[in-house]
Structures are given as C-alpha cells and as structure tokens.
Amino acid sequence: MKYVDEYRDPALAVRLLAEIRQTVTRPWVVMEICGGHTHAIMKNGLDQLLPAQVELVHGPGCPVCVTPVETIDRAVAIAARPEVIFTSFGDMLRVPGSSSSLFMAKSAGADVRMVYSPLEAVALARQNPEREVVFLAVGFETTAPGNGMALLQAKREGLTNFSLLASHVLVPPAIRALLSSPANRVQGYLAPGHVCTIMGWQEYVPLAEEFKVPIVVTGFELLDILAGLLMVLRQLEAGEHGVENQYGRSVSRDGNPGAQRIMAEVFAVRDRPWRGIGVLPASGLVIREHLAAYDAERKFAVETIRVREPEACQSGSVLQGLIKPDGCPAFGRECTPEHPLGATMVSGEGACAAYYKYHRTSHA
C-alpha cells in the first residue's frame, strides 16, 4: 500500500532508532496524546526498542475511552425505544455504561446497528421513514466534521427522523489541562496527525509558547512515530520548544477549512466531562440551538440521565500519565478486556487494552 508500506521499512526504522539513541543524553518523558499512536507503539514494540531514558506516557486521545458513562446510559435508553434504529461506529458497541452496553441492549431487543460512516445512518433514515434513526456521534476533531455533515445532509433532504447523540471532544483543551496540572511530568508531546489534518498545526503554537514544551504533529506509521519522537527529543536536548510538523504529507498550517466550516456550523464549544478525568473547560462540542431538532438528547429527553463514575477504575490516572496501565491494582485481575472496569480497557485503542494485548510483562 502506497503511503503505508514505505513508512514501515525496518531498515530505516533501525537508523532512526540509532539516531534517537545518539541524541538522548538524559531521561525524558514524552506523551503521545493519541490512542492511534499508543496502538502503533505497542504493536511495533517501540517501547522495547527505545533507549531506557525515553519514557512514553499514553495520553487521553481515545474518544471511546473518554466518553462519559452517562452518554452510554443515554444511548442505551434511546436505543431501547421501539421506534428507534440506533446506529454507532463499532468502537462504542461494547463500551460498558453503568449497567449495560449497546451490545447488551441489542441482545435485549433494541435495534442497534453498526455503521462505518455517519452517511450510512442518514441512508437508513431515508430508507426507514417510519422509524427514528439516531447516530452516536463520538470522536475528536477528525470525526466531528463528518458527523456534522451527516446532520446537515439529513436537514437538506428534509429527513425529520434523523438525530445525533453528540459527544465530541477537542484535543488542545485536554493538553492545556494536562500541562496545567501540578502533577504533570510530561516534557514533550506527539500531537495527533489526523486531528491536525482537519485543524492545522497552528492551534498548538500558543500551547508550546505558554508552557514551553515541544509539540510535534506526528503521523501513524512506524517511521512517522520514530521521526516525530526524534524531533521532540532533539528540541528537548537543545532546550528548545516549538511546534514542528512531522506529518507534512497530510497536515498543513491551517488544516482543512471546509471541514472546519461544517464543524462550526453544526457544533458549539462547551465544557464537558471526560471519563476518568472530570470536566475540562471548553473541551466538548454540542449541537447548536437552531439544529435542536436533530439533537437526540433533546428529542428523546435523556438529558436528565446522570451517572457517577465507578471508583475502582484508575483510568483517569492512566489517561493523565500519572500511572502506567499495569500500575493499576485492578489491571489484569478485576479488569480485563472480557470484564472491563473502565473504557481504557474496552477500546482496542485504550492504553490498558493495548498493554493487555501486547505487553503483559507480569505474565511474560
């Protein structure tokens, strides 16, 4: 596959690894914010190959993992209604709410369907005018424009039986919250390449300036991640801080203006709770007032469903990089992919699941 295979070349990876070894002279803590990076790092075994001075911390960049329990509970409540066809990306189906998941709701009789694109949910609304089609719109800036586009398309086609249960999150406010925390240990960041494909890298310049941290926008293949790390480490070693773009083949300074326009048209920025972390200011997207007819929360009056997060799960500390997944007392014991306590164990991209899948050192 072009743009994939050449970025997995082991010979070049070896050279980049050697260059990283030569560059590093003292310990550094670098966070990869994005779950996609975490997955690629674990899958390629980069944590085993990097010099011991480089500590990678897995950040909160998994939309499934940070979706609040109450959003799942609201989804399950809506899905249970007989007139509803509830649609979702595959990621969210297994995620446990406080007592059920969408998969469990399906077993209990709900019409829950998996889609690959939100436009498929719009097609379902078109084909089933007598039913209410609801789409669980999760994701970061990468996914929000497409979900917004689905809403606008339904509106354009006059489909009144389509709505979004929206639970979108934004990356820069999360980085700001992590950097502002007194417990912060992270010295440099790999920023998410696909979020930046939409938003552009300029969004991160104020963060790098204010907190004096290097931030490198990074792609998702083996060589991308190694090159991104090398760029962060070079800045750290040189005492510099700034935004660099490793993923130039997809990311520009200003991103994708068309996608940003749709996002702004459909969604407004609000404070929002992140599962395991708490409420972060201006970190979420909600459907704008004039589109309320397409907002499933209002349409099905589920805003009253409120839930407290379970306490045994330390996913919050994991997502903030305060502990490693296997540092949690429940890891691999009460909490496994079969019986997850928190979403970081459910999602394939969650730090806990990635650790469990690829790297159970205690068992190895």
Binding site: R15, Q153, A227, L230, R249
Partner: protein
Amino acid sequence: MCLAIPGRVVEIFQENGLLMGHIDYSGTVNTICLEYVPEIAVGQYTVVHAGFALSVLNEEEAQQSFAAWRELTQAVAAQGTDVFGNPLEK
C-alpha cells in the same frame, strides 16, 4: 485516536447532492465522501476516516521526509542489524 488510511481516488461522482468517490486501498474499494477535498482528482491519494476524505496527500512533502531521514541517519552504520545487533530478517 482517529484511524485514517491512505487510498487512491479511482472515481468521482455526485450522490444525493454530495461529492463522493471510490477509493482503492490495494484492491479493496469503498465509497467515500469527498466534500472536504473538492480539489481532489482521480489518481490522487487521500487520507480516509469514517467515510470521509480528510486531505489530499502531498507527494512532494512525502518525498522530502524520506530524503531528510536518509540524510539524517546516514552517519549511522547500523544497517543490516536490528537494534539488539542481530542480523535483520527481511
């Protein structure tokens, strides 16, 4: 967080008033919305996420990275072995 995969545009068309395209990933083809990349042409590569094309891939930038990596790491004579010093199995 966001799984997005590069593919080649093989066809561009309108469907329900939206700019759509067929994208080929080494022989597997699916239908993708191209509304955010109206400038894209057949034969170009795009990064696809959840049914939407996010960007037109910049071949020149891609070539530059490779040139830079080769140059950057030329000094390293580790070629042929893995990071543990074992011969590479290709």
